[in-house]
Symmetry: C2
Subunit: 332 residues, 2 copies
């Protein structure tokens, strides 16, 4: 990748979150000038400790992406917008659908309108999700697979994604979307299952409690270590090929959830897991097996995941064992 | 159709609009107790004259579907909600995307939340649109065709539709959606092209001005006379087969726009049409040829259109020639 980021102005929404903070670290190495915007809403992914090692090298602006005046100011003169802020919890989207809509759809449309008015020359890389495919009709799921969201979050994320592609197509505001699968690694929310179930698994393991696997544990999933996810964002931002495109991320290392739990326990050298019935509210929105076909981003942008589960999970366990006090409080 | 509507409480959003008012007329004949809710926002479809002949037999409640307290009150105890209110103009959705999102997506989600809390036993029939298919990949377009909206309106209508199906699937709130194609007939907005281009064509013809056909006029379209659209809504409401389903409407009488203009002129006995280049803002969101496959609603609910273009257009012309002063002001 030619370094198109040197001395460029970068705005990362959700910048104190899991992926945003790792992306910032990578972009610093390219000499970019970075502003992180984050709402620090406690139930979402932002955590100031995520940038502890780079806090003197980036600008932090605490605000909500629903704050249109803040966003209008922040978007001026920006070369790249990595638009990662979102409400990610499927359950929360059912309990508070209005907030999910405001953040994942309405604020996205508002951001694009601001770009159209004050900065149409920027490039936007939007973090979307495989959740909007719903229950797969076939595997692996490619981008031609029908979209059929099974929860409010999926519908709103889809709207948010499509606004981006629409503004690319109609107004020429360069934008692309990456449909992330289960991303994991240092910096993810592990306090609970709001961001990914793998987070709470790590916490339980470190707390020496059994991992809870829903259902029969035979569900297939693919995972991306955060460094691989970051490299896809950087490649998508650097290329004009990506304009107007939607790409799946994914991994060819497909694993059953039960086996993943056992792998984690194995890497940890201790621990246990137990199968528990699906809670009713999760059963309704469960999608069964899922893994991605990511040929399109491989051929268009040359991306493929490089970090295997063994290495990625070990890195993650080590990170949280050393830093857990910044991610959860024992009494919570 | 067994009469499931006798003495039932019916709420029609967009009830002073084109389809809502015609639906109310049909439901009155079944002995239903009807409340019409309409915002009467001037650029939308509501027109108090649409119910001039039935105004003493229905309850009219002027309010915006974005008014959550009004909707909470109005939805209590309702047996059927015909949810027809919407922002329908593709151009307006690009000029004012926020209002389009509020009405076509956010208010729909809020209505469903109200139903979940105060009246989960009602049945909802939602008016969706073929606009969300975008530019067809194949013809006729069936419900398995990918959805690919080309404007903000299409994205928001899709979200609104899917919230309905989701609440059916997750919460058991019986809901279905009809994807309307070009509906026309007495009561449609003819002042301008905000609801359908056919509206402004009728006005121009009655005003003895040339009809303007965009592009080469070779675009294929299908049309439904409003009585046929109303019968589909009634059938969908009356059947449990429709729960959770999305149905195309459509017609097997497919016609090129140029030929439609000539047919209208022929029925009118006078007039002219001219081909004009697409305005830039319409070119961006034009979808080329479109017509529907409506086999699914035919087999599930026994619906098919009965009124041909000759009769439907003649009825429409007669209606507007007699009543035009209630639909436009000469100086506008």
């Amino acid at each position: 990748m030619i370094n198109c980021y040197a001395n460029k102005k970068i705005l990362i929404t959700g910048g104190l979150g899991f992926i945003g903070s790792n992306l910032a670290r990578a972009l610093l190495a390219y000499g970019a000038k970075i502003t992180l915007v984050d709402s620090l809403i406690p139930v979402y992914g932002g955590n100031i400790f995520n940038i502890d090692d780079i806090k003197d090298k980036v600008t932090v602006n605490i605000s909500d992406i629903r704050d249109q005046y803040a966003m209008t100011h922040l978007l001026k003169g920006v070369d790249f917008l990595f638009n990662l802020a979102g409400q990610t919890s499927h359950l929360d989207s059912m309990l508070d659908p209005k907030s999910d809509l405001e953040i994942n759809a309405a604020a996205q449309l508002a951001i694009l309108e601001v770009c159209r008015k004050v900065n149409p020359a920027l490039k936007i890389i939007f973090a979307s999700t495989r959740q909007l495919y719903g229950k797969p009709e076939y595997l692996p799921v490619d981008e031609a697979h029908p979209v059929r969201p099974v929860d409010v979050n999926g519908i709103n994320k889809l709207a948010g994604e499509w606004y981006h592609i629409l503004y690319n197509n109609v107004y020429g505001i360069r934008a692309c979307a990456l449909r992330l699968t289960n991303t994991y690694g240092p910096g993810m929310r592990v306090k609970d299952a709001r961001q990914t179930f793998l987070g709470i698994w790590l916490r339980l393991l470190i707390e020496e409690k059994p991992i809870k696997v829903f259902g029969d544990g035979l569900q297939l999933r693919d995972f991306n270590y955060v460094d691989d996810c970051v490299s896809s964002l950087l490649l998508a931002g650097a290329s004009e090929n990506s304009n107007g495109k939607v790409y799946n991320l994914g991994s060819s290392e497909v694993i059953r959830l039960k086996d993943l739990a056992e792998l984690l326990i194995d890497i940890n050298g201790a621990g246990s897991c137990e199968l528990v019935p699906f809670p009713a509210e999760r059963k309704n929105i469960d999608i069964g097996d899922y893994y991605s076909n990511f040929d399109l981003i491989s051929s268009d942008l040359g991306w493929r995941p490089k970090v295997g589960l063994n290495v990625g999970l070990e890195n993650s366990l080590n990170y949280y064992r050393n830093n857990y006090k910044h991610y959860w409080v024992d009494s919570e």
